[in-house]
Amino acid sequence: MEQEQGKLMELIDQETLNDLMAGTRNGTGRFGPFGGAYVPETLVPVLRELEQAYQQAQRDESFQLELGDLLRDYVGRPSLFYEARRLSEALGGAHIYLKREDLNHTGAHKINNTLGQVLLAKRMGKTRVIAETGAGQHGVATATACALFGLSCVIYMGEEDIRRQRLNVLRMRLLGAEVRAVSLGSRTLKDAINEALRDWVAHVDTFYCFGTAAGPHPFPEMVRDFQAVIGRETRKQALAELGRLPDVLVACVGGGSNAIGFFYPFLDDASVRLIGVEAGGTGDEVGRHAATLGLGSPGVLHGAYSYLLQDGDGQIRPTHSVSAGLDYPGVGPEHSLLKETGRAEYVRIGDEDAVKACQVLSRTEGILPALESAHAVAYALKMAPGLSQDKVIVVNLSGRGDKDVETLAEYLEGGTLHE
């Protein structure tokens, strides 16, 4: 703790941090100085109720069994631990393995969390579920879980994201969800979260199925726990197939749910390097990236104290990424702590390299990754040749790329798609 706070002092006034922390210092909901629940007073009891219900569910064997059954029989878990041989050979360095979250039902890791949360909603007697979505994967996963449990479902989605993730909008509607377009602000994930929070504060009996390991307590903890199945399986599979732990884990970070779920079971394994890949967009200038940890500073957004992209007046800055799911100016508080302690490293990959990685993985392995996950793939492509052949990199392939075909075609217009 002392070391991490020492580093923080350079960034913001230490006393303010201490005071902000004091509110929940003795409770849960903090990751070092990060986290908390900075929400309108109306939501305070609502979050408390959620926290208590979640804690009870965690201790309840029947809840865990039901979720476990769903993950196996409905999602198709455990997801595969796949050695990308052709890719590894082509790169000539470390061996690359893929944790195939793209093979989950609905095509991404998001379903791990939404089944957990919607099961919890059901247990709490809720009948209406709301969610925000960026790329649409969380929206689809929430709509899916609601269909499965017969709950009504409203998804908030920015207009810009509706445009670039049209297929997922259609999927949500087919699943019976209502998709509400958000035309405010940057019309992306950030604004969808604002609108979902506004809905929640007006409809406190509604269950807000938050999509990433960010937001007010207890969401960062709860979403991490539901996603930690990724890391637990990876650990087991690596030990079974390799007889040892991997050397490097790589995952993309927008809000950070797939990365934290992947990293969490490895936090105490000091030999395993944890690398989070943020969206470098088209450059380091304001508005051209979404590299919150790499280029941001701490502050309060969407109910938590964490890194965010802000200007000198504390206003949230615009972001850009070719991938809608990473196009977010905040990040989960636990990632902020992992950055401060140095336990995880955070790097960035730009639009162009992510798109290239989509092509490379498609052609060498026959796997089209989501643009989000392609950021992690791209970093592995850069890293592998510099490592010896006995090293193992595991990439969390958090989603499949079908939803991105139109964006890819648009991006590659001019013929490179056919090169």
């Binding site: 913001i12 902000l20 309108p40 109306t42 305070v44 309060v300 965010l308 007046d313 504390g314």
Partner: protein, 271 residues
């Protein structure tokens, strides 16, 4: 000095309605905000609430969101908000509260902010994304810096549990901001019996005066509330009326006449 705020609620019986009026700083411009603060003060508003614009106002409805966007587009910053208060304060004694989301204040630097706020003539703070209990240490720290010259205004919601309300029992300064309903700012709040009972009950639990806000826009609502609270807070309805004048492109004397009509409407809300 927050004494200005105390005086508003002192020495008169419970149940007398004070009027708290909200405007967004910098909407549509610095100069217009200053003029309107003065106009509102002169028209008998008891307490002014000045919004600090923020890019992501999660507790606000469309009207105040739009006001914030106009203010930011016009270059309003926290430093300019404080300058605005200082200029207003030269000739006005109406108590003034800043309503701000946390992040712009944190970015400014908390200690510097509270010193500058007091020096500018801010009397208190309303922080919609800092729950009362989460803010305990920050309030203590503020008191170390500026004594009791900045009053923190607690909010109580209909969802608030008894323990949350009891946490306010020892508060003696300012007032409690009572949310008329669950939700964001704007619209029109209904005042069913259960809401009236909830407001009345706060009287038994707290010694602080009660000001009811969110969705207050009609005289009839205020009449229903008369006797069970000490003040009403009018935000979106006022911001909306002023925004319409700006959107209509009125200027000079024509604008002043219309503004005066808005102030008269506002004063007429007070029972």
């Amino acid at each position: 000095m927050s004494e200005r705020l105390e005086q508003v609620f002192q020495g008169s019986p419970r149940g007398l309605t004070r009027l708290v009026a909200y405007v967004m700083a910098g909407d549509p411009s610095y100069e217009m905000s200053l003029r309107r603060l003065r106009g509102l003060a002169a028209s008998g508003v008891d307490v002014l609430e000045l919004g600090v614009p923020f890019s992501d106002p999660m507790a606000d409805g469309p009207i105040i969101q739009a006001a914030g966007e106009r203010a930011l587009a016009g270059g309003m910053t926290l430093s300019k908000v404080l300058r605005l208060v200082r200029e207003f304060r030269r000739e006005a004694t109406t108590p003034l509260l800043l309503m701000s989301y946390l992040n712009p204040l944190l970015r400014y630097g908390w200690d510097q902010f509270v010193l500058d706020a007091v020096e500018s003539g801010v009397d208190g703070l309303i922080l919609p994304d800092l729950p009362w209990r989460e803010g305990q240490a920050l309030r203590e720290r503020t008191a170390e810096r500026v004594g009791n010259r900045l009053t923190f205004i607690p909010m109580v919601a209909q969802t608030s549990e008894e323990e949350d309300i009891q946490a306010l029992q020892d508060e003696k300064r300012g007032f409690v901001y009572v949310l008329s309903r669950n939700g964001i700012t704007g619209g029109e709040a209904e005042m069913p019996a259960q809401v009236r009972a909830y407001i009345a009950k706060l009287h038994e639990m707290l010694s602080l005066p009660r000001c009811v806000g969110f969705g207050i826009q009609k005289r009839e609502q205020v009449e229903v509330l008369a006797g069970i609270c000490e003040g009403v807070i009018v935000g979106s309805a006022l911001v909306d009326r002023l925004a319409h004048l700006d959107a209509a492109g009125l200027e000079g004397e024509g604008l002043r006449t219309k503004e005066a009509e808005v102030y008269t409407w506002l004063a007429g809300l007070k029972a």
